[in-house]
């Protein structure tokens, strides 16, 4: 086969490969760079017009093959179509826009820059690498650290500590001293359980809990709570209360009997 025919076949195959391999590309710039290489010229001398046409052809072919193209491929296609029109139409001097040549030059710069990075990336990867070509000491001797800890305290620390202990009570959080309080809830519970025993009139004082029936604050608290509980039970209809005279003993009786 003649050379030109062979080349035509090769080019067609390359174009097909481009479309089929679309997923293998790292974005539209990568496709453009690959296409630009087929022009076999310095990237600075590249025909951006021809490149734009090739890319638009690539996108059209990909869509014909129903290959899902990412949006950025289509954005690039739209931009290149615009660039193509700017390059073909005479510049509009009134428009405050970059010229088609400026845009084309920038695209060429981007392609050249990407190719440059790829070239140096390959050079970098070809270097002797640690752990592959070059090796560090296999048996490093660990640097041992001998740590001496000294403790420090000042006289002020000691004095403050002592002051702290001696004044601890003053700073204790305020607690209600609950031990001298007999609550109505406690009394109510106690009275309910004792209701059955009050078949006859009995003195309220007899129902005070053990340990609360002596004199003083504890007794006062217990009497108040028990009386309040008794009133509660009267309201419920469970109990009757009576007091013969002012300050006389309060008596109670189970109402169910």
């Amino acid at each position: 086969m003649p050379d030109d025919q062979l080349q035509a076949i090769a080019e067609r195959r390359a174009a097909e490969a481009l479309v089929v391999d679309v997923a293998g590309f790292e974005g539209p710039l990568d496709v453009l760079l690959t296409l630009a290489r087929t022009q076999r010229v310095d990237l600075r001398q590249i025909s951006v017009l021809a490149l734009a046409e090739q890319y638009l052809g690539f996108v059209a072919a990909a869509r014909r093959l129903r290959i899902e193209l990412a949006a950025d491929y289509l954005v690039m296609a739209a931009w290149l179509a615009y660039l193509k029109s700017r390059l073909l139409l005479p510049p509009d001097p009134s428009a405050d826009e970059p010229s088609g040549e400026d845009l084309a030059a920038h695209l060429a710069f981007q392609l050249e820059r990407l190719e440059g990075i790829r070239r140096v990336a390959a050079m970098l990867m070809a270097r002797d690498q640690l752990g592959r070509d070059v090796f560090a000491r296999g048996a490093p001797e660990t640097l041992s650290t001998r740590r001496t800890v000294t403790h420090e305290a000042t006289l002020l620390d000691v004095m403050k500590a002592y002051a702290r202990i001696k004044t601890k009570e003053a700073f204790e959080p305020f607690h209600l001293r609950r031990e001298a309080v007999y609550t109505m809830e406690d009394a109510l519970e106690r009275m309910r359980s004792l209701l059955g025993t009050a078949q006859h009139w009995s003195e309220l004082a007899a129902f005070l809990p053990e340990g609360w029936d002596q004199s003083g604050g504890r007794r006062r608290a217990a009497v108040a709570a028990t009386f309040a509980a008794a009133l509660e039970l009267v309201r419920d209809g469970a109990l009757e209360l009576r007091q013969d005279r002012r300050f006389g003993p309060i008596e109670l009786k189970d109402r169910s009997t």
Binding site: I117, L124, F135, T142
Partner: protein
């Protein structure tokens, strides 16, 4: 005995300092900075002179004294790598995206993510940057003093160590890239690039 004890005596002669630096560096797998070396030498020692003498002594040997960023380390000679098949660490080949991203960070540093994307023409997946950070080849640099104060990425001393580079200035092909103007930041015509900044700092 301690390192500080040495200060009670005269500073040892250079040949002795050389022995000390040799032992200190031999014992460590990771590079040690001049400062780290100096801290362990007796007072008055001249680690720089000792390092220079040591580097000469190891020239042409099976083990070399190499500079890695701020640090110094002994490394086997590259031409003998084939003998160390048993020590070779199996490393997963870096993906194309990761290789290019690494190169962009190395040659354009400090560089923002937006700039990496602009150069590659494709968005950078977070996984790629994470992977390079896990390898400790790149790290966060200073924030760019531009709107949004984007973070920048720079290469690390571990990167230099891995690729046998004394400094980022020794990157292969760096001068060619610079001469071709490919490290310049050129905003797209008609746009004001907010991240445009000095390509090299």
């Amino acid at each position: 005995m301690s390192g500080t004890l040495g200060s009670l005596f005269d500073t040892p002669p250079l040949i002795e300092q050389q022995r000390m630096v040799e032992a200190i560096l031999f014992a460590s797998a990771a590079p040690l900075t001049l400062r780290e070396i100096a801290e362990r030498l007796p007072k008055g020692a001249d680690p720089e002179a000792a390092l220079a003498a040591l580097a000469t002594h190891y020239e042409g040997r099976g083990v070399h004294l190499v500079q890695v960023g701020e640090g110094w380390a002994f490394r086997t000679a590259a031409d003998l790598g084939h003998l160390m098949t048993r020590e070779q660490v199996e490393t997963r080949r870096l993906s194309r995206a990761a290789t290019e991203t690494l190169a962009i960070v190395a040659y354009h540093q400090p560089v923002t993510r937006a700039e990496i994307e602009e150069i590659r023409g494709v968005s950078v997946s977070k996984g790629t940057l994470d992977h390079l950070m896990e390898l400790e080849w790149i790290q966060l640099g200073r924030r760019r003093q531009s709107p949004g104060r984007p973070v920048t990425f720079v290469v690390t001393d571990t990167f230099l160590d891995h690729f046998g580079l004394a400094s980022a200035r020794d990157l292969p092909g760096l001068s060619e890239l610079r001469a071709a103007g490919l490290l310049d930041s050129r905003p797209t015509p008609g746009t004001a690039d907010p991240d445009a900044a000095e390509p090299d700092a």
